[in-house]
Symmetry: C5
Subunit: 365 residues, 5 copies
């Protein structure tokens, strides 16, 4: 069965990882606050406008310098955040406050949008399905947006942005004519589409559960409900603050985001709202399923207990009668009559039937 | 018993259907993201002003072209969204951004209002009762509103708008004198009226349940409560985002909606709020009914168990006494007395009556 | 016991009555959407200013015409809404949009305030106690407010406004000097005072219940709690949207409401807020009572079951001992000793007392 | 044990007292709507500025007249509200609308702030501890604030304002230099401090309960929890609307409140928010305690029932074996063997021990 | 096991400490309202700008005077609040309203921001881990912010600000170039980082609990859940009002906070929001764990009871049969047959097996 996991840590309850030595650091201290998930840092560049397209892997930050002065849209994707030198070089190259890079390196923080003098920082949690295990992987995505450059920072290799790269390569009009703001939308759109996709996979499992619930409510059902609730809480942990972030992004009054992309950011709002609605909906469904499970189980137990109790109760007076005639008194008139034994049987059967009728009428079983 | 169903899929838990290949599509990619519910696309036109009325079925999009330059109100209704060519032609004809058509084709999205340069898009879920099965059908409705044309897109044939067509045909003053904004109101009004109607049908069933609940709370009652809760959650899934949409529509500051229709959009707000209130109310009632059911059942079980336990307990000392005189000791003085057996009976009856009085006084049964 | 009822329909669960043929009607269609609660329509007029007072029952709408041109305040009260002709005449006489009259005839809608060009429409649910049965009656009240005329529409004869009429007749300064806006306040004030009154009657019953709850928690208690919860939900159904309506009325920026009455509309807000608070409070109290009831009942059952079980358990080893000496083995040494029988009794009593002490120490009964 | 009580009525559930004859009164009708809590009306005056101080008890309203024209701050405190004449005289003397006095006499209404042309009315519920019984007393406080006069109305003698009087007498700089607005703050501050004090007394009791809960969870614990919940609901009934009132007072844009006192009204907001937080906190604690109590009780009952059941079950096969050899068949081979009886005992003991081991391994007791 | 405690009082339920004599004090009364947690008052000064750094411990307030006229940033840290004289001197030296100092001395109040004419007061609760016991300590922190001086007041020696002092000493550019507003941010940042750290420690314990819950749900588990819930409520008590305070601080429009630090205060908002989210998350997890615990326990009990009941029920008819043939009737035909005893055994075994099969089929055990 597939599970939802953080890439580095399979325990799910840990909602926060705050290490003692991280307390009180300067906001521009370039220290990687997260879990190292890749060995080497990989820098990839896609530089394009309506007519031209350059796509290459670069080795050093200085290879990027040339792109920033071009009028084209430059998308720099960086996998791996632990290399402080590279971060420092990036800050120097693009003239970012070192605080910006420090924020990028803090992967445990909440999704947020921060405007700086010459750029804006957007962070969000990415959810994706791991190919082999079917596990859901969480990864922090940071985007630094300037007028002509978009830098995306990921924690490890492999990502969900291939469809955007394809659209750029296939010269799709809208993305090739758009600016860095449209590219930002395109990336965030995929992130949120993946929220919906992961929710829909969970939904399928919940749906199957619904069927089991009515047919055969065994103990695995309760375990599954609890496991799905935990998965859902895990997803909600990313979705709820992402919704806040997307809404404050849409309200943000920055020159970096042109009016032409307003309609797209509105779409992001609709999609993240849908993700939030759906996660609320599944929470309610799981909660209802839990109630139905308990009701079914307890109703089944009640039926058994009622049956067994009625069964016992019928034998109680019969056993008592037998006890009476098991006494060793010298003078018990009934003992000597020839048909006493048979009469006893008849009385016993009559008592049993009488009680059965009484219980049946009372609808006790 | 009638059920609530999506037209194409009878399983209800699925709150979202996100397919992997839909992730990362360009927002203007004309791909039908939904379930095909009709074979052929049907285009119907009603063109009217206070004095004239044309109503016809057209075969091709180009037959529509002429209408858009007329001063009259043109209502184009299109059943079936899967034909990409037609969508493309519509975009070209009316000079819509292809993004608009892409939105129309995305039938799984949340109800929303989007303003574009030359039009506004409104989407909402339509609920209606299927004639034969009594099932409730959900269908996505998209409206593209321009100054003189209203295009409505439905997923399949048959709709709930016949009363509006009748009002147009019967030359009702208000609708024949109104613009596309009034027509939009008229359509949305019917959609919301149907929400209220479907809720009132559910209400009738809940009401009947209330009677059964007190008279004869069998297992079918709990199943019905759970089934109605599920139906209600299904309705709420459409009503809650529709309310958000209607309220943001009423707040929208667009030239496409004249001040004269403000009062009508206010009415839509009142009606959708009522639908929301009512759905909240039924949720509370169903939740109360569930509690009453559990209380009734558990109180009934308690009574049975108390009765059976008291019954057993009365026989316990009697059987013990009989056991005492069933022992085979050689010297048991009582065994030899002539009236011992009868005295035993008297003692037993006294003990039984004493216990009955004790239990009765304690109000234990 | 008195109950809360809709005047025409004793079933309470029905939160909405939407008939199929009402769907898609034009907003100015003069069709009575409600339940006919009176046979003949009654028109009563009170026309007054500081110095003059006319009070009369008129037969036809045209008898009203003269009043609308006078500078005095004219209060027209109409009982019965089903007569379409009268409604049409009123619209014509006062030059109202027929949409206004259609709204008045829709008695099932939500309390609301709507501003029109030459008037404002205010609707609210009236609660009152029926003299004979003590039942609470719900009735829809609609007020059309113009500069010099206030028309009130009620569903049936008999109302709660007699104190206002008395104040007018007794020449109370404030009401005789006020305009239609002050008269509107006076009527709404009575409506809300009646909410508080009906709540206080329910409160008395809840209070009495509290006493029964601790003294004698029988099954009638649970039925009463559930019945009061239902009554309260019924009241909340009127109070909650009325609160919304009153608050939006106070915020409304209309020339029909002068600044001098602001302080009075503030009072309405305070009173409806109090009604809402109180209804919340009783809901919490009833919910607490339900918990106390269940706790008491279950604690009582536990005590009984513990007692009976302890009682049974004490006899179990005793009956076992008797059974041992009821066996028919040829060589059972104890059977032949003279005092065996008495020793058995002593052992049995010792076992019973030992168990009693053990259970008592464990505080099991 | 001390209880929370309304001064006139020990029953707590009554959240509202609306009498039938109070419905529809004119808003300026001088009728006392409350419970008479003192016989004679007492008028006390403190008139002061930085340099002078007059403190006296006056007999008639006309003795007050002189003070209103002085530049000093005049605090008129009136105990007892039932005397309509005095109220009328006050209105005449200070030129208040009679509506103001009517509001003051309506002691059952919700805490509120109302601005009039020449004054502002502030009402709030005062909580205080009665010296003898330790009961909490609720009393309605009304303050009429003008530029140089503050009139406070209380329902009965004895109040919580002595510290303010002391500060005035001791010539504390701030209060002697402040205006009526600062005096208003000083009085409201004491009222809210008393909310916190009463909450802290309840808190002590809840804390003691916490200890009992773990040591000895008897039936008195559940009664105390329920009683504290009721006390808390009673306090919340005053605190929640008081919070609303204080916040709207702080937002009020009146000339009667100078900017210099803004910081003090901010403090009132903080304090009432703390009272509200604390009352929420205790509600959660009591709710948790209730859960812990139920868990403890049910876990104890389960242990008892498990023990008793296991005990019974062990004897069942033993008694069965004894029964077998109590049968009177002529040919039962075992009966004749010499050691049968002892073998039976050995078998029985083996069965009992075997079952005990089985149950122990299963951790059933 | 470590516990969360107030430094002076180990009882946790007390949400508020309001002493009777504190009621009605003047807002500028310099009375220490808290618990004395240190003997001697300690004054420490750090005075710095980009180039210079003075760090010293001073004995008297007058030693501070010189610093306030310098252009440098002066951070005065004061441990111990009970010395009224020192407070008075501080007020005189810095020309603060004595009300400011009174607020500082009121350590039980709610976290808040207050703007005064020449300074701003910020208060917040500090959480920190005590070295020895692992207990969490709560301490009130007050910050008085002026243009060039920041005074911090703590209740006792030892604090969490060492990292900031280190950054100042190590000449970190940002803090040495910043003003008092940046220093304020740096201190609050550490406070909130500690919230997250304390939450993450609790999170680890909750995580461990999760494992125990499934493996071995003993009574200690329920006690731990309840204890963690109490710890969490204790943390929430500090976090929730701190969040309110931080948000109103960020919205505050004061000249004391320059635009350059806006981005830092935004970070505080994100961090405190994360703390709030995480505390909500753990509340939900603990609540789910409680449910899982109860379900597991009750399901285990049900299994035991079902087993025992089925076991008993199987012996009931067997014991009855033995009872029948233990009767002493003279004419019982079966008693004389040679194989009766063996037939009885066969019948008994058949009955037992039949019942076992029946119960097995019904899945009753
Ligand atoms: Mg939610
Ligand atoms: Mg909801
Ligand atoms: Mg939530
Ligand atoms: Mg929620
Ligand atoms: Mg929800
Ligand atoms: Mg919901
Ligand atoms: Mg919900
Ligand atoms: Mg609700
Ligand atoms: Mg809701
Ligand atoms: Mg609701
Ligand atoms: Mg409700
Ligand atoms: Mg509700
Ligand atoms: Mg409510
Ligand atoms: Mg509420
Ligand atoms: Mg509530
Ligand atoms: Mg509440
Ligand atoms: Mg509610
Ligand atoms: Mg409440
Ligand atoms: Mg609830
Ligand atoms: Mg609350
Ligand atoms: Mg709440
Ligand atoms: Mg709360
Ligand atoms: Mg809380
Ligand atoms: Mg809470
Ligand atoms: Mg709740
Ligand atoms: Mg929360
Ligand atoms: Mg909360
Ligand atoms: Mg939550
Ligand atoms: Mg919450
Ligand atoms: Mg949650």
């Amino acid at each position: 069965m597939n599970k939802f996991t953080d890439t580095s840590n399979r325990k799910m309850a840990k909602l926060i990882k705050k290490k003692k030595h991280e307390i009180g650091l300067s906001p521009d201290e370039l220290i990687f606050r997260g879990t190292k998930k890749t060995e080497k840092v990989l820098l990839r560049i896609i530089d394009f406008d309506a007519n031209s397209l350059i796509e290459e892997v670069v080795k050093k930050v200085k290879d990027i310098v040339e792109f920033q002065y071009k009028d084209t849209v430059t998308w720099i994707n960086i996998d791996g955040l632990h290399n402080t030198e590279i971060m420092q070089e990036l800050a120097t190259t693009f003239n970012f406050d070192s605080m910006v890079m420090a924020e990028v390196m803090n992967t445990d923080a909440r999704p947020r949008v921060i405007e700086y003098d010459n750029c804006a920082l957007i962070t969000i949690k990415m959810l994706s399905q791991e190919g082999n295990s079917g596990d859901t992987i969480v990864e922090n995505l940071s985007l630094i947006l300037t007028e002509s450059v978009l830098i995306s920072f990921q924690e490890r290799r492999g990502d969900i942005f291939e469809p955007v790269r394809e659209r750029i390569r296939k010269q799709k009009k809208r993305i090739r004519n758009g600016g860095t703001d449209y590219l930002t939308f395109a990336l965030l759109d995929i992130v949120i589409d993946n929220y919906l996709y992961v929710l829909s996979l969970l939904g399928e499992k919940v749906e199957k559960l619904e069927e089991n619930l009515l047919v055969n409510p065994g103990k695995d059902v309760i375990n599954q409900i609890n496991s799905y609730k935990r998965e859902l809480n895990f997803l909600r942990k990313s979705i709820k603050p992402a919704k806040e972030m997307i809404f404050s992004l849409a309200k943000m009054d920055s020159e970096l985001i042109t009016e032409a992309t307003d309609v797209h950011f509105k779409e992001l709002q609709d999609n993240i709202s849908q993700a939030s609605d759906v996660s609320d909906g599944y929470r309610d469904i799981l909660s209802d399923q839990l109630n139905i499970y308990h009701t079914t189980i307890s109703s089944k137990l009640n039926d058994i207990m009622k049956f067994l109790t009625v069964f016992s109760v019928i034998f109680i007076p019969l056993t008592f009668i037998a006890g009476i005639y098991g006494t060793n008194f010298e003078y018990v008139p009934e003992l000597g009559y020839k048909y006493s034994y048979f009469i006893m049987w008849i009385v016993m059967i009559a008592v049993a039937i009488g009680m059965l009728i009484f219980f049946k009428r009372k609808k006790w079983f």
